[in-house]
Subunit: 258 residues, 2 copies
């Protein structure tokens, strides 16, 4: 057969391939450079394309590569450090830290959202028939969309919005945020987990559905209970979430091959 394998250890081929490619990326390629296409790489290493792809997938997961259908595979720049939490707590805002309000709608909470709103500090239980404002925000860093967020604000939290007249789109989103910022923030709560991009988020993040993402869930508390819940979806391939308690001003290099 084509396989001349004399490996004493049955290390998976794709794993070995990944190691070899990783070293080649360090030595022989510059950021932004285009790799040979998958069919040629597979032939060069004497493996099936599926096996080669398994190695590339891992490298993409680790943020080493970037693949685009119809274009090719390029060497990815180092991950962007994105500040997610700092020492002082604050309400979500607009145009701060790269966040941009996109839109706001109002609807009944899903079971999952209801659960997030219900548990936590404060005894206030939210009824399933109480509407919530849903604010969509987007976060841009270095010219790239790195996160999409859904912010759930129970209408009861911001009564001033019972009859708003702001037009749909960013203005309405900003109106909800403004009302929220009037309240006194008493504490917050954050968690990070791995997920895969839903179809709509994937579109905004310029990725395919199912792409790996980091799900950052934040709950905002006032003295009377949970006032809002945010679920932010960060691109896992390009982002490194930072929680800077000290000044982390390290600018990641972004040189690109000519």
């Amino acid at each position: 057969m084509g396989t001349t394998q004399l490996e004493s250890v049955p290390e998976p081929k794709y794993w070995h391939l990944k190691t070899v490619l990783s070293e080649a990326l360090d030595q022989d390629f510059a950021v932004g450079e285009i790799l040979p296409n998958e069919r040629e790489l597979a032939a060069r290493f004497g493996v099936a394309r599926a096996t080669l792809r398994q190695a590339l997938e891992q490298l993409e997961l680790e943020g080493r590569l970037q693949r685009r259908r119809g274009v090719g595979t390029t060497v990815a720049p180092p991950r962007v450090g994105v500040v997610v939490g700092s020492a002082q707590q604050d309400w979500p805002g607009d145009n701060a830290d790269g966040w941009e309000a996109v839109d706001a709608t109002e609807s009944l909470p899903t079971a999952a959202v209801l659960k997030l709103l219900a548990t936590g500090t404060g005894a206030a239980a939210f009824a399933a028939d109480q509407p919530v404002h849903i604010v969509r925000r987007t976060r841009v860093t270095q010219g790239q969309v790195v996160a999409a967020e859904l912010l759930y604000v129970p209408a009861a939290s911001v009564p001033g919005l019972s009859a708003i007249d702001a037009p749909a789109g960013p203005p309405r989103a900003r109106a909800v945020l403004r009302e929220l910022q009037r309240l006194t923030l008493d504490g917050q709560d954050r968690s990070v987990e791995l997920g895969s991009a839903r179809a709509d988020d994937a579109k905004e993040l310029d990725r395919l559905p199912g792409a790996p993402v980091l799900l950052v869930t934040t709950r905002y508390f006032t003295l009377s209970g949970t006032a809002a819940v945010s679920v932010a979806t960060y691109r896992a391939d390009t982002c490194r979430l930072t929680f800077g308690d000290s000044g982390d001003v390290e600018i990641t290099e972004t040189r690109v091959a000519s």
Copy 2:
């Protein structure tokens, strides 16, 4: 052909499959229950096994399933909330928060570690020929190993250890931690990113090499600079990292099917 697809939208089969399976998991399966094997599932849905596996992989990535070679595929319990950062900062310890010291060795820092130690607050630049203590720790939550950590402590940070006599293994690891705790912690710095498990970490986490993990990098500062750097590898499939600024005492349910 076997494909009777009349889908107007060319949604990938594995994506649709994942949705169907996900709903089935919610309705017809209890936590811990064993699914039919891959060959049977593939036949039942009329797809190739590789396609079925693509859907299962996604569900495993999302923490919905757990697959074990030689055993089968089971419905995973909800992710475990693991406290990674709290309001007050502290040195890494032993037997606190489930951390257990495993061992400590001494060697020269790799380029990557050196870079982590060099950048940051304080002007102290570390020489590549200065040894570092490497402490291995393991974190156990609810009877399961959820994280493996490598803590890099420059020998210069803890001069009291220049001639230690603690036997190898946990005692020596604890000795390094004790010395570290004598210093005054001035600040810390944390980041979270997606990675894939190295072979040694995978073994400790009871996963296959390459399994998705959350990489938590923490830098500990004293007034004279970076005193230590920790790189913790958390199982991404079973863990939800929490940064509790408020009391997040929600105990995740861990009922298992009979």
